[in-house]
Symmetry: C2
Subunit: 369 residues, 2 copies
Amino acid sequence: MATPLSGFHAVVPAGGAGTRLWPLSRAGHPKFLLDLTGSGRTLLQATVDRLAPLTGEDGVVVVTGVRHADEVARQVPGLTTGPGGRLLVEPSPRDSMAAIGLAAAVLLERHGPDVVIGSFAADHVIGDTDEFHAAVREAVEAARAGYVVTIGIRATGPSTAFGYVQAGESAGVAGAPGARRASGFTEKPDEQTARAYLATGEYRWNAGMFVVLARVLLDHLDAQLPALAGGLRTIAAVWDTPERDDVLSGVWPGLTKIAIDHAIAEPVAAAGGVAMVPGEFSWDDVGDFASLAGLVPGGTLGDASAVLRVDAPDAFVVTGGDRTVSVVGLPDAVVVDTPGALLVTTRAHAQQVKAAVDAWRAQDRDDLL
Amino acid sequence: MATPLSGFHAVVPAGGAGTRLWPLSRAGHPKFLLDLTGSGRTLLQATVDRLAPLTGEDGVVVVTGVRHADEVARQVPGLTTGPGGRLLVEPSPRDSMAAIGLAAAVLLERHGPDVVIGSFAADHVIGDTDEFHAAVREAVEAARAGYVVTIGIRATGPSTAFGYVQAGESAGVAGAPGARRASGFTEKPDEQTARAYLATGEYRWNAGMFVVLARVLLDHLDAQLPALAGGLRTIAAVWDTPERDDVLSGVWPGLTKIAIDHAIAEPVAAAGGVAMVPGEFSWDDVGDFASLAGLVPGGTLGDASAVLRVDAPDAFVVTGGDRTVSVVGLPDAVVVDTPGALLVTTRAHAQQVKAAVDAWRAQDRDDLL
């Protein structure tokens, strides 16, 4: 068991519909609430399990929406919403900067200027916990030196599904020898560009993990988006008081909707304020069924005895519980059987699943979404 | 409405599991009992509908197995199993020669030496009833001249899924100008051979439709397979008497299991006794899902509003009634959703569906078959 890091708090934004994993992931039970890998733990639970050794038992804060608050509390014992509670409920979605910024501001109020936060999505899969812990430890050291720190994942191939971070010279932090200045971020490239990135040896996948002193994050936000920063500080000041709901309902709807990458990571990197710490663990954002298929041992999520493959050894199947699934001659197949909705596609078309969701929505079939 | 043909009786063998249409077609409800084209009539009902104008209302005899007798009687009003009844129930399957030969022998007993029978499978789909009637009328004329008559279907392409019949010189029957001597039958050829057949202009598809005087059929059987012929005559002699069950249970299990093609059509053709009458109607034996997909308007069997196709305009879908089906990026897909069993394959792999049935059987999952 790892020793908790003093003053370190994890922030887990638990949101996003996971549209490309429809109909497994739906608005009512998005992917972070699901055991997508057959491990016995949901992605949210696995995320909390992974972080608790670093933060101590009471060091993980989850930020989620009204719709999922009850289920999040059920899945993660100890999370409450009252004063001092570690479940922060957003009245409406205002994107990742508001979610993470709120947690940073609340933790700064509660624990003072030395608090370091690390934000980790609730719906990613990580393979090697020891390596993950090692990277976060180093990131916390670099954060204490004043950096916004991102963890750069060693790329296993020229993925076009992930963003990349480019590392420059050493960040010069004694306790974080691997930390380097991040010279910039790029969003999902085409394959040729991705190959060129990897050939330089300077690029890693950007997993959207940020570790930073809460006060540094809010200082950057003051500079970049002062209205958003001010709103978050106003809310945080009353979060653990009876005024929370009143202030929240007045201020929250006006907060700027923006991703933390655009709000902080990109402009601060350009100014030399972002460090990248290497992560040598396997990582996946489970962005679509092609990704999920690679994470599920044996290729069946559900009841493997209900699945038959003929000339389709690698077909990926999610069973629905009430019928067998036979796949004949489609090695690339993805078959997802759920109550009310069956999806049949291929790994190669995994990104197009979103189009099916859009088409059902256009038919007013929100009951399926 | 066509005028019935005097002395003509249709024999409809209603058997066969339709394994390649699993899980739509199953042992308990094989394809002839299903409305496979969404027409509102099952294949058996459509077959009887098509024949009744030629035979008159009481001229269609159905031969089926014990397991399906009740459902056949339910689907075709007027069929009974008692003396004089037109539903002949086989105690066990003994292949098509025993089934058709039994009906021929019973009809010969009942109606005398001028009776002409025509055998037509219960699970084929025919497109143009007028052309079908015209072909059968001509076939009956050629049968009255003593021929075993087969209807040769105009091939629409070099199919490797059907057998072929080769036509020679005119059969010289005044009432059947299109009838030609059949010089031989060939089973499913490879594509190159099929192309060569069609290039000659002499070959047509063998649809397994045979029209013949009942006494001529039994005379040929006396010569080719005397024990089988004797057994059938013995059973037929007591069919409409109280002795039926006793004789049937003693004789039926010992009858030679053989298809009518091998028992009669091939050897008699070699001896010059088979005529071919051309059929200009569309015909399909609905042998697999690739074939069925071509017969179902719009590509959905079931509830079209429950099916969504994204980059898969020609995907063939059978809905199961309790869930939507979304197919993304698989234009060749075949998705068959039924209670307890879902099949996902492609038209190109349609013939391999049998392997799925075999594999489930090997797992002792007869509940699915």
